[in-house]
């Protein structure tokens, strides 16, 4: 087995286990810290498929930005109270059944649909003169996906306004 396969298996095991711990930890701060572990291992998977730009974005934006924000807000709300409260709601049977049903459905789709088709697929030839990853992403972003990029800035504008209005006002 090649080394990259071993690395993938280790990283995905870490991602799944820490993802499970995010859902089951009673203390939300611990859940946030386990989510950081999961995000780091997903970043490792990006590095394995040579998506270096995405790897950097995952660490800078997700771990360095979003997760720090989560921890900030966790400090604002009361952590001590939620440690003493029940972590799960009363519909856990229905929730578990729904999730297992979805899992079965997706597994069936994988087994009957995706896996045989992927096996039948002829290997795609790699381009002869590949660009570096960040360069390729830059070309694709700013030549083929012009409108989505501008829409992202609009989305960010809306998020900015919404966040400030929500954060500064009391609604009685």
């Amino acid at each position: 087995m090649p080394l990259s396969h071993v690395a993938f298996l280790i990283l995905s095991a870490v991602a799944l286990i820490s993802g499970g711990l995010v859902v089951t930890r009673r203390n939300p701060v611990r859940a946030a810290l386990w989510l950081i572990v999961a995000l780091f291992s997903v970043a490792g998977i990006y590095l394995l498929v040579k998506a270096e730009f995405l790897f950097a974005v995952q660490i800078i934006l997700y771990v360095g930005g979003i997760m720090v924000l989560f921890l900030f807000v966790l400090m604002l709300v009361n952590v001590n109270v939620s440690v003493r409260q029940a972590p799960f709601n009363r519909q856990w049977r229905v929730a578990l059944a729904t999730a297992l049903l979805l899992l079965a459905e997706l597994a069936y789709g994988f087994w009957r649909g995706a896996a045989p088709r992927l096996k039948a697929l002829a290997p795609v030839a790699a381009p002869s003169h590949p660009l570096g990853n960040t360069q390729a992403v830059g070309m694709a972003l700013y030549q083929n996906y012009l409108l989505p990029v501008e829409l992202v800035s609009l989305l960010l504008l809306v998020a900015m306004v919404g966040a400030v209005i929500m954060a500064k006002r009391r609604f009685d």
Binding site: A31, L76, P87, W92, V124
Partner: protein, 100 residues
């Protein structure tokens, strides 16, 4: 090259864990974290097919998804802070002003 099937299985696992988190937990913050897990599952799929086709498009979409996740987290956390100021709780089942 790592088989694409492995990526699909990993993303199915992460998606189901995320859905379980949203359905099971009471704390809104942990529900938001589970949504981040689901977005990561989607990103793993995009990146896997980007590797399969040797095309960078999947990675571009993953960048868009991450930008979207950031916007969602910012607005979601501002909403949670606003709710906490008014209702002194972060539990989803206690936010029932619209329930009859």
């Amino acid at each position: 090259m790592i088989p694409t099937q492995w990526f699909l299985l990993l993303s199915v696992g992460l998606l189901v864990i995320g859905i379980l988190g949203v359905l099971l937990r009471r704390n809104v913050l942990v529900m938001l974290m589970s949504i981040e897990l689901m977005l990561n599952a989607a990103n793993i799929n995009l990146v896997a097919f980007s590797q399969l086709w040797h095309a960078v498009t999947g990675q571009v979409f993953a960048v868009f998804v991450i930008a979207d996740a950031a916007a969602e987290a910012v607005v979601g956390l501002a909403l949670i802070v606003a709710l906490f100021r008014n209702k002194e709780t972060v539990n989803a089942d206690e936010m029932d002003l619209l329930k009859w």
